[in-house]
């Protein structure tokens, strides 16, 4: 039956389905929409998805698991908004999220998305792991709980629970300690930042998470926040103000950039590696932060930085956005965006693929294994590379 109160009812028909959204800005490859790159059928292109949502809203097609899978395969990477030549392009991702919200309210969403959201409702993280284990990553690092220090170091779910993510969280903590930054963490009391919950369409759950987090931060007197993940950075910088949570939010690469340029962090130890940097969507296209991570890498002696064909606002998404690092509707093939991106990184001749997001880290590291490139290409977070340069093990 038709969807009655779809917010973008009078805009969505303006999509001409001309397909510019499939390309990066330099048109070098037709596969820059991650879902289209994976399935290469018109239904999975951004235009195809908008036409299907419109057809569903008008009652021309019925809901089906396949339709839900097509909508949820959008990783909210914003390549479409970057490339679409038409004036409504600023709302494309919102149109898809609004369709997801409609499905959420009807309870008809892919099973893995259902599990993701139920786990967050229950345990405050998509893995459903116990809240009592959220602080386990910091055991033995000497990192303190937050009691008014200058920065709240917000880690996020992937950094807290994913073994690979934990490693990065620890290294960044030690780097900040080395630079003498005054910071503390929330440990077991940290809750999901809600960024993925919102892009999965669970609007009310996102509002609750945002309200609770803002209240928690304010009760602790938090002024400045440094986040490990661009996803947390995005929610706290752009959405929390709407819940009167006006904090000074930085992604950690921005903080490291200033620490290095102010001389508070000595990276002269250097790292000998040819590195290519992957722009995470929530740092790049969503927040136009392209230079800080690159400046950090370039400030380390011995690092030779090579750009991939598709970089900055033309980067190919790792396929982990829109909750897909967990619900993973784009995995399972050599056409998966993560595997395409890993091949592209390898072609530059780099031996290190640098990332600045725990989701990208896990997606691209799995892809390196799947492509059997373990001995030719290593995925490292910028924090880990900086850690090496400061002699942190």
């Amino acid at each position: 039956m038709a969807v009655i109160d779809y917010k973008y009812k009078d805009v969505i028909h303006r999509c001409f389905r001309c397909g510019y959204c499939k390309f990066p800005n330099n048109w070098i490859d037709v596969n820059n929409c991650p879902a289209y790159a994976r399935f290469r059928m018109e239904t999975y292109s951004c235009g195809g998805r908008l036409w299907l949502v419109r057809a569903w809203v008008n009652g021309e097609i019925d809901w089906s698991e396949h339709f839900a899978q097509i909508v949820y395969s959008c990783t909210a990477c914003k390549n479409c908004e970057q490339q679409c030549p038409l004036r409504f392009n600023v709302d494309i991702v919102n149109m898809i999220v609004a369709a997801k919200s409609e499905m959420v309210e009807r309870g008809e969403i892919p099973p893995s998305a259902k599990e993701f959201l139920e786990n967050v409702q229950r345990q405050g993280n998509p893995y459903g792991n116990s809240r009592e284990k959220r602080g386990e990553w910091m055991e033995g690092t000497g990192i303190e709980a937050y009691q008014g220090q200058e920065f709240l170091y917000y880690v996020g779910c992937v950094g807290s629970y994913d073994t690979r993510g934990q490693k990065t969280a620890r290294v960044l903590g030690k780097v900040l300690q080395k630079a003498g930054v005054s910071f503390g963490v929330l440990g077991n009391d940290e809750n999901c930042d809600g960024n993925e919950v919102r892009s999965l369409g669970e609007e009310t759950l996102f509002e609750m998470l945002a309200e609770e987090n803002v209240a928690q931060f304010q009760s602790l007197g938090v002024q400045k926040i440094v986040t490990l993940s661009p996803h947390s950075y995005n929610a706290m910088k752009n959405d929390y103000p709407g819940f009167n949570g006006g904090f000074d939010v930085a992604h950690y690469t921005q903080l490291l950039q200033s620490l290095i340029s102010d001389g508070r962090l000595d990276v002269s130890g250097g790292v000998n590696a040819t590195v290519t940097y992957h722009d995470p969507c929530f740092l790049g296209r969503w927040n136009e932060e392209y230079e800080a991570p690159r400046n950090v890498l370039k400030s380390i002696p011995g690092i030779q930085l090579i750009e991939m064909e598709r970089n900055r606002d033309g980067a190919l998404c790792c396929g982990g956005g829109g909750g897909n690092f967990y619900i993973d509707l784009l995995g399972g093939s050599e056409d998966s965006p993560a595997r395409r991106r890993v091949r592209e990184a390898h072609e530059t001749g780099a031996d290190v693929l640098a990332v600045a997001c725990p989701n990208c880290l896990t997606m691209l590291e799995d892809a390196v294994k799947a492509e059997e490139l373990e001995d030719k290409l290593t995925v490292k977070d910028v924090a880990e590379i900086v850690g090496e340069a400061c002699g942190i093990k």
């Binding site: 009078d10 001309c18 037709v30 290469r40 036409w51 089906s64 396949h66």
Partner: protein, 452 residues
């Protein structure tokens, strides 16, 4: 279990074939005003061999096959009128070889125009191809299949004139090669073997183009666009005639449109120039702006609006948003250049009668040998009345183009009927024989170019 579906899964793999409502819905439309028709399957093959097996299956089961590249031909040429298999060729997107010396590119049919532009800019900066200005995903194969033209039409003709070789899967499943490639490994010329050009202009009704060797042309270091305008449309043919005489320009386009209002009624010229040095550029500018167009400027009949370096690709999709309706369709016709004034005047009259802001454009083909004249009608996809108005305007324009002595380019069903009615019966009979010879079971893109 649907045996055809299962057979398709065995050929291309489970992920590249679908009979689900979502794929059938999307592949039932093109972007224009043509009524949608649902296919029974959507299939995305990766190799010529897969296409052969699909076509053989289609013959056995009498299932229509409708090939499409970008699906952007905007005239219903990729709409599966009789259902069957919508064959999306965009996965066949490898650029196989670029031969710098003989200036040609051998590509799979699904290579997109955008990919070609960026690949040449990135790896072969001294070469360029005739880019049609369609949205990025439009494919090389699809474009030659409908006798498309691009921004080198004035010096070098139709894109289909630039074909050095073709690989075709016949409707009965065999693979044929036309041009030097059929006897040697080089794809450097289509001629002089007996001409079997039975696949260009047929819009995929006589076979499926799988590989194209396309001529490339020198790409000079400096490329720019000069803009010239005249008030009186009667002057346009002679201006084009004079410009083509100089043989200095690349693309020559004359257009007129109602939006923005201050330019309504004026005839604008876009004159592409290319040069390897400032000296060469100044020389060409002088010949064009002083020696050729100077008299118009001095008489006040025309105005020079400046020259801008850098070739900015036209973004034709913007037209679809003029009426905030996400849609437009245009009639393209190959017309004698001197019919420009009538094409403009009557075209404008049709637009105004259907309450659509007029947009007409003439692209010179060859040395003013002909021009591709397009009448564009935007519509609002959410407003059936505006679609109806656009569709009527399109049909009236089909009639107009033929009345003015032109011939329709990539016409939809309505235009095809008009063309075939006017065609001399023996040529029509020969077309029918060719179709029957190549496609005995009538599975290839049925409905289009069907000689009754």
């Amino acid at each position: 279990m649907d045996s055809v579906y299962q057979a398709l899964v065995d050929i291309v793999g489970q992920e590249h074939v679908s009979n689900r409502q979502e794929e059938l819905f999307i592949y039932s439309f093109d972007l224009g005003t043509t009524e949608p028709h649902r296919p029974d399957y959507a299939v995305a093959p990766r190799t010529t061999e897969e296409i052969q097996e699909i076509v053989r299956l289609a013959n056995r089961e009498k299932v229509p096959v409708v090939p499409l590249g970008g699906g952007l031909s905007l005239a219903g040429l990729a709409v599966p009128f009789k259902g069957g298999i919508a064959l999306d060729l965009k996965r066949m997107d490898s650029i196989i070889e670029v031969n710098e010396k003989a200036r040609y590119a051998l590509v799979e049919c699904g290579v997109s125009q955008a990919q070609m532009v960026s690949y040449l800019e990135r790896y072969h900066p001294t070469l360029t191809h005739s880019e049609p200005g369609a949205p990025g995903p439009a494919t090389i194969g699809g474009n030659v299949a409908i006798h498309g033209q691009g921004d080198l039409a004035q010096p070098y003709g139709f894109n289909s004139d630039m074909v050095n070789g073709l690989e075709i899967v016949l409707p009965t499943g065999e693979v044929c090669r036309f041009g030097s490639c059929s006897i040697s490994s080089g794809w450097f010329t289509l001629h002089p073997l007996p001409d079997l050009g039975l696949f260009l202009g047929w819009s995929g009704t006589t076979g499926i183009i799988t590989k194209v060797s396309l001529r490339l042309f020198p790409c000079k270091r400096i490329r720019g666009v000069g803009q010239f305008v005249v008030e009186n449309e009667e002057l346009v043919p002679e201006v084009i005639h004079k410009l083509t005489h100089t043989q200095m320009a690349e693309d020559i386009i004359a257009y007129s449109q109602a939006v923005p209002p201050f330019s309504s009624g004026l005839q604008h010229f876009l004159i592409n120039l290319a040069a390897d040095s400032e000296k060469e550029l100044e020389f060409k500018q002088e010949i064009i702006w002083d020696d050729t167009l100077g008299e118009y400027i001095r008489r006040g009949d025309g105005g020079f609006l400046g020259f801008r370096q850098g070739l900015e690709r036209p973004v034709v999709s913007k037209t679809s948003d003029w009426r905030k309706g996400g849609g437009f369709e245009y009639v393209g016709a190959i017309m004698p250049v001197d019919t420009y004034p009538e094409c403009y005047r009557q075209g404008r009259e049709i637009s105004e009668r259907h309450d659509i802001p007029y947009t007409v454009l003439g692209r010179c083909i060859g040395m003013a040998h002909a021009m591709m004249f397009s009448w564009t009608y935007a519509f609002n996809r959410a407003d059936p009345e505006s679609i109806k108005q656009a569709r009527e305007a399109l049909h009236e324009t089909d009639d107009l183009a033929l009345e003015l002595g032109g011939t329709l380019w990539k016409p939809g069903l309505y235009g095809q009927k008009l063309v075939m009615e006017r065609m001399d019966p023996h040529t029509l009979e020969l077309m029918k024989k060719v179709k029957q010879l190549l496609d005995p079971n009538g599975i290839m893109n049925p409905g289009n170019w069907e000689v009754s």
